[in-house]
Symmetry: C2
Subunit: 115 residues, 2 copies
Amino acid sequence: METYRTPLDAAFHALSDPTRRAIINRLMTSPAPVKELAEPFSMGLPGFLKHLRVLEDSGLIATEKAGRVRTCRVRIERLAEAETWLSEQRALWQARTDRLANYVETQMSGNEDED
Amino acid sequence: METYRTPLDAAFHALSDPTRRAIINRLMTSPAPVKELAEPFSMGLPGFLKHLRVLEDSGLIATEKAGRVRTCRVRIERLAEAETWLSEQRALWQARTDRLANYVETQMSGNEDED
DNA sequence: ACAATTGTTCACCGTATGGCAAACTAATGT
DNA sequence: ACATTAGTTTGCCATACGGTGAACAATTGT
């Protein structure tokens, strides 16, 4: 079903849906079975299961079935990858504003009364 | 075009495509005109412009046209929102593992020779 | 054995996505 | 004036997405 190329593609895609973010949010506190996870949402189980599959295919969660109950838990590593990408970007931004601040500073010490 | 509900939906969706992440990555260092941004990619301009629109609609970038050149720059706030959501989730996870560690510890001090 | 609980599969639907090619507009260089 | 550059619009396409209802397992409680 998921044709996503890289893990990051899949992770960000999975996070782009509010239902799925809510699921992640819930699972951060503790693992839970499918039924309990589904309860807060108005949609039917089939639709809900699709969301779970998107999450599982993305690696953001893992599931395991015991008896008739499938228990879901978060895989924090994948979430960390997304976080890492974002913080790398912010590092680039930081480097840039640092350069800019530095430039402004050298300019000002050159002509202190400039506008 | 974008029917996205919340800013977070739109931001994560925008980031789920490798082309768009590459654009963001490029823009982190400095603003750039459309043509220069498009050069590294094999696709045509119309397709590329769609990516730019997704990014702009998500609030991850802003663009401004001067003469015939449209310059694009990152809007760091929106990226920060995504980062914030992720770190909130990790805080929940952290709280959980802390609780768990605490529990294990109290158990061990109760029966120190247990397996 | 039987019913209830829990999950799964299937076929379907309307809309969005990611791409293309072609035609077009607007600003700039010569 | 004319050609070039830079971007835009339009129409099209195949596939993916988010949801539905109906039928079908498989486990568990009584």
